[in-house]
C-alpha cells in the first residue's frame, strides 16, 4: 500500500448526499479477479452514456477535473455494499482523498486499506471546500495527514480527526496483516481458551 502523508491537488466537487458504492463502481465491473484497472469505470453510469460516450456535464469529464485527486462530497459517502472495488476504482482513477460530512463505515475502513484518506469535516467546512473545488484546476487544496488539516486555495484551513492507529498505518504504508501476525501468540492462547469455554464454536 502506498503511504499517504501530504497531498496537494485538484478537488472535484460532488455536492450529492448518499453517493453509494453502486454509483462509484457498478456491479458489472465487480467480476474482475484483480484490484487494478477499475479507474476507467469509476462512476460509470454517471460518466458515460449507454453506448459508452462521455457525458460532458459529469464533473470528472470536465477538463478542469480530469486529473482530480480529491473529491468533496455530501453526507454518507460510500454507503451500500462492502465492495472494496469502490476504493480500488477511486485509487485507479487517481483519487487519494475524499472529503465529506460523513462516510459509511465499511467504505471508510476500506479506504485506509488502500492508501486513500477519507476526511470527515462539518457542513460549514464542506460548504467552503465545495465552493473552492468549484473554482477548478487552478484552485488546489492541500491535505496534510501529519497535521490533520485540509487547506483550501484561499489559505483557509480546517482541522480533522482521524484514528491514531489508522493514521500510523496510512502514513507508513503498513500491511496490517503483517502487524497482526506479530501477535500470533495472543491468537494461539485465545483459541486455546475458547476451545475450553466455547468448544462448539
Amino acid at each position: 500500500m502506498d503511504k499517504f502523508t501530504t497531498l496537494t491537488g485538484i478537488a472535484a466537487p460532488m455536492p450529492l448526499v448518499n453517493i453509494d458504492t453502486d454509483m462509484i463502481i457498478p456491479k458489472q465491473f465487480l467480476k474482475t479477479i484483480q484490484r487494478s484497472g477499475l479507474g476507467k469505470n469509476l462512476f460509470d453510469e454517471m460518466r458515460y452514456t449507454l453506448d459508452g460516450k462521455e457525458i460532458p456535464d459529469f464533473v470528472l469529464n470536465q477538463p478542469a477535473y480530469r486529473k482530480a485527486e480529491i473529491i468533496v462530497a455530501g453526507d454518507n459517502f460510500g454507503c451500500g455494499s462492502s465492495r472494496e472495488h469502490a476504493p480500488w476504482a477511486l485509487l485507479d482513477f487517481g483519487i487519494r482523498c475524499v472529503i465529506a460530512t460523513s462516510f459509511a463505515d465499511i467504505f471508510y475502513n476500506n479506504c485506509f486499506k488502500n492508501g486513500i484518506l477519507p476526511v470527515v469535516l462539518p457542513q460549514e467546512a464542506i460548504d467552503h471546500l465545495m465552493d473552492d473545488a468549484r473554482k477548478g484546476a487552478n484552485a488546489r487544496m492541500t491535505v496534510d495527514l501529519e497535521s490533520q488539516t485540509v487547506t483550501a486555495s484561499d489559505g483557509k484551513s480546517f482541522a480533522f480527526e482521524v484514528d491514531a492507529f489508522k493514521k500510523h498505518c496510512l502514513m507508513n504504508g503498513l500491511d496490517d496483516i503483517g502487524l497482526t501476525l506479530e501477535k500470533a501468540a495472543s491468537i494461539d492462547s485465545y483459541e486455546a481458551k475458547a476451545a475450553t469455554l466455547r468448544p462448539w464454536a
Partner: protein
C-alpha cells in the same frame, strides 16, 4: 461488573488483544466467503505464502454471479468473466481446504441464507463476510458484519479483525404488528425514521414485543437491512425460537456440547440498566405496509401515501429528492398505488426464505399476474426444495411466475437477471439505488406479500386489500 448490552458481552468474549489506544484484535468464529469479494484476498495469500488459519471455520459458496435459470449447469449460460470468478472460488476452496458448497450442490444458495440453514451461524458468535448484508446473522444474537476484501484477506490469514468498538443503539418495536405488516415493513420503517446514516458507528439491538413475536426468518429480514440504516451490525437476543431453529442443523453442536452451548446462549441478553448511546422506539401498531419511492432505502412511505415533493425536504436531501424523482419517473402528489409495475422480483438475502415464499404464495394462490414478468428466486436450493414440497412452487408457476434456482439474482443484477432502462420493479430485495437492478431500472422495495399483490394488479397495491379476498 457494570451492566452490559448484548453487543458488549459478545465483544468482550472475542477480544484477543487490546492496544492502549483501544484498538482491538477481535476473534472471528465464522468467515463466510463468496466469489465476488474474495479472489483478490486469496491471491494476496498466495503472493505472501500465507495459509488460511482456520479453514474449518471458513465457509464458501458462489451466489452473486450464478445464473438462476434451470439450465445453468451449461457453462454457456454464464459470461466469461462470471465463469472465471466462480471457477476461481472453486479452485481457492479446494487449494485452501475450506468448506464449500459448489453451484451443483443442492445446499448452494445465498451465503446469508446458507450459513444459518446449515447451522454455521450460532448465537454469540462473531461472523464476517465480504458482503454488507452479513448483518443478517445478527438475528441469532451473533455479532455479524460486512468487511472489505483486504479484511477478508486479514481474516483468512489471522482469523481476527482489527476493530474499534462501536456504540450501542437500541431499536425497540413495542406491541404487535397489524395484519399484513411484516418484518420487511419494520426494517424499512426504522430506516425511514433514522435515515441511511442514522446507525453509522453503531451496532443496533432490535428488541420489543413485535421483534420477539417474529419468526427467525423475520428476524433475519430485520437484521439484514441494519446496513441500509448505516449500522454495520444489527442483532437480536437469542430465545427459545432461536434455539429451536438451531437444534439439529448439520453444523450445530450435539449432545453435551449442545447443552453447554445452550447454557452459554442463555446468558446472551442485555442486562437491566445497560447503557445505550441512542434509543429509537416505534409502536408496532403504527407500522403500515411500506414501499420505497426514491433511490435511497430511507425513501420510505406507507403504501397509502403519495409521492413527495422535493420541497418536503431540507438541506442536501432537496436536490437528492429531485434527482430521485427524475430517475424514478414519478410526479409529486401521485398516489403510490397508481404506480404501474413491469416486473416483480421475489428473493434475495432479505426475503428469499421459506416464510417469504409462503407469504407471497398466500396472496397469489389461484390468481394470475398482470405484470410483464415475475420471478421467484429461492434463497437456497433447500428453500427451493421445501417450497416445491409444500406446493408453493406450483402456485407461483400457475400464477405466471418464473420458478428459479438459488442465487442473488436481480437483487444486484450481476448475473443475467437485470432490469432494462426505465423498467419498473417491485422487489423484495434491499437496495433501490440508481442502477442497482440494471442500468436505468427503477426499484420499489416491498415485502413479499406486497410484491405478490403488485404482481396480480400490475401496480403498487396495499396487500391488506388482497388479504380480504384470500381469508
Amino acid at each position: 461488573m457494570a451492566p452490559r448490552t448484548l453487543y458488549d458481552k459478545i465483544w468482550d468474549d472475542h477480544v484477543v488483544h487490546q492496544a492502549e489506544d483501544g484498538t482491538c484484535l477481535l476473534y472471528i468464529d465464522r468467515h463466510l466467503v463468496h466469489e465476488v469479494t474474495s479472489p483478490q484476498a486469496f491471491e494476496g495469500l498466495r503472493m505472501t505464502g500465507r495459509k488460511v488459519r482456520a479453514p474449518e471455520k471458513t465457509i464458501a459458496v458462489p451466489d452473486h454471479n450464478v445464473p438462476t435459470t434451470v439450465d445453468r449447469a451449461n457453462a454457456a449460460t454464464m459470461t466469461e468473466d462470471s465463469r472465471i470468478q466462480v471457477a476461481a472460488l472453486d479452485k481457492n476452496a479446494k487449494d485452501f481446504g475450506i468448506n464449500y458448497y459448489p453451484v451443483s450442490d443442492v445446499r448452494q444458495g445465498i451465503v446469508h441464507i446458507v450459513g444459518p440453514e446449515q447451522g454455521w451461524t450460532l448465537p454469540g458468535m462473531t461472523v464476517v463476510c465480504g458482503d454488507s448484508h452479513t448483518a443478517t446473522h445478527g438475528a441469532f444474537g451473533s455479532l455479524a458484519h460486512g468487511i472489505g476484501t483486504s479484511e477478508v484477506e486479514h481474516v483468512l490469514a489471522t482469523q481476527t479483525l482489527i476493530q474499534r468498538k462501536g456504540k450501542n443503539m437500541k431499536v425497540e418495536i413495542t406491541g404487535s404488528l397489524r395484519p399484513g405488516v411484516t418484518a420487511k415493513d419494520i426494517t424499512l420503517s426504522v430506516i425511514g425514521a433514522t435515515g441511511t446514516a442514522g446507525g453509522t458507528g453503531y451496532v443496533i439491538e432490535y428488541c420489543g414485543q413485535a421483534i420477539r413475536e417474529l419468526s427467525m426468518e423475520g428476524r433475519m429480514t430485520v437484521c439484514n437491512m441494519a446496513i441500509e440504516g448505516g449500522a454495520r451490525a444489527g442483532l437480536i437476543a437469542p430465545d427459545e425460537k432461536t434455539f429451536a431453529y438451531c437444534m439439529g442443523r448439520p453444523h450445530a453442536p450435539k449432545g453435551a456440547k449442545w447443552e453447554a452451548a445452550l447454557a452459554y446462549w442463555k446468558t446472551l441478553y442485555t442486562d437491566e440498566g445497560a447503557h445505550f448511546d441512542k434509543v429509537i422506539t416505534i409502536k408496532g401498531e403504527d407500522i403500515a405496509p411500506v414501499v420505497t419511492w426514491g433511490t435511497s432505502p430511507e425513501d420510505v412511505l406507507p403504501i397509502t401515501g403519495v409521492v413527495p415533493s422535493p420541497s418536503d425536504f431540507t438541506g442536501g436531501k432537496v436536490e437528492a429528492a429531485q434527482r430521485s424523482l427524475d430517475y424514478m419517473g414519478l410526479t409529486p402528489g401521485q398516489k403510490l398505488t397508481d404506480i404501474a409495475i413491469d416486473t416483480v422480483f421475489i428473493g434475495s438475502c432479505t426475503n428469499g426464505r421459506i416464510e417469504d415464499l409462503r407469504a407471497a404464495a398466500a396472496i397469489l394462490k389461484g390468481k394470475k399476474i398482470k405484470v410483464k414478468r415475475a420471478m421467484v428466486v429461492p434463497g437456497s436450493g433447500l428453500v427451493r426444495a421445501q417450497a416445491e414440497e409444500e406446493g408453493l412452487a406450483q402456485i407461483f408457476i400457475d400464477a405466471g411466475f418464473e420458478w428459479r434456482l438459488a442465487g442473488c439474482s436481480m437483487c444486484l443484477a450481476m448475473n443475467p437477471d437485470q432490469l432494462a432502462p426505465g423498467e419498473r420493479c417491485a422487489a423484495t430485495s434491499n437496495r433501490n439505488f440508481e442502477g442497482r437492478q440494471g442500468r436505468g431500472g427503477r426499484t420499489h422495495l416491498v415485502s413479499p406479500g406486497m410484491a405478490a399483490a403488485a404482481a396480480i394488479t400490475g401496480h403498487l397495491t396495499d396487500v391488506r386489500d388482497m388479504m380480504g379476498e384470500t381469508v
